[in-house]
Subunit: 154 residues, 2 copies
């Protein structure tokens, strides 16, 4: 098991847009239950399945396994809760860390989130000026919750 | 994807008990939703994750992946819906097919089911005399339903 320590923010300007190459991510859920999330993701030509346990503070247990691409495509198209999540991800290095900026499509269009993964809960970090309000503790922003209650419905 | 064609029966006497070596199976569910079952199983020293799509008649899509044993044990103990299923399985060859006889433990003690996997829905087969009533279409007997509504509660 790995432990994922992640903090999430909204963006407050468009400064992120010109940085990093956007990569399309397609992801869906075989379980979006907060105690046992099962996520299927295709990025580029590769697919992974990720299991996540319940978050305690900003930490969460996470296990990741490679999946055959054809199986993952079938899960996204036929088995996963619908609609699946599609988003462009940009990876933007800044002050020793990499920010992942997700620009959502479809029913979540208009939502842009910036995430940083940290080695410990106490780790200090600097924020680029386009990083805005923190939403780590707001469960509406969990990708697994953006299927049943997409941003456009808020 | 494989397609699983399976028929399930109750037993009507104890004739199965002296046949086959009982092996302990421990299995739990990260999702028991009928359209996207995610099962974790430990049998002997090996673990697998199985994804199952919705059944149509007696057929069901099924995908299976090996799992690290330590991960599977952690899923069963901490993440899966509780209580997990524990049962002794006996594999009994008969008339060209192998019957799997599951003797349930814990909250499902008293339940014994015999299953046969077939190459096609139309395949004919002979039944040993300890095989009783067919329950393939009775969803109460799905292992994924025996967690929320165990046999002892019927």
């Amino acid at each position: 098991m790995g432990v994922e320590i992640e903090r999430k923010f909204l963006v407050q300007n468009e400064g992120w847009r010109a940085q990093g190459e956007p990569v399309l991510l397609r992801q869906g859920y075989l379980s979006s239950h907060p105690e046992r999330v099962v996520r299927v993701r295709i990025e580029g030509g590769a697919a992974v399945m990720t299991i996540k346990s319940k978050a305690v503070g900003v930490s969460r247990g996470e296990w990741e396994y490679p999946l055959p691409l054809a199986d993952a495509a079938e899960f996204l198209d036929r088995l996963c809760e619908q609609p699946i999540i599609e988003k462009y991800r940009r990876r933007i290095p800044y002050a020793g860390f990499v920010w992942e900026v997700d620009e959502f499509l479809g029913a979540n269009a208009g939502l842009v989130m910036a995430e940083i993964e940290l080695p410990s809960e106490e780790q200090a970090f600097d924020k680029p000026d386009w990083v805005g309000e923190e939403v780590t503790q707001d469960v509406r922003y969990l990708n697994s919750n953006l299927i049943g209650k997409p941003y456009s419905s808020w």
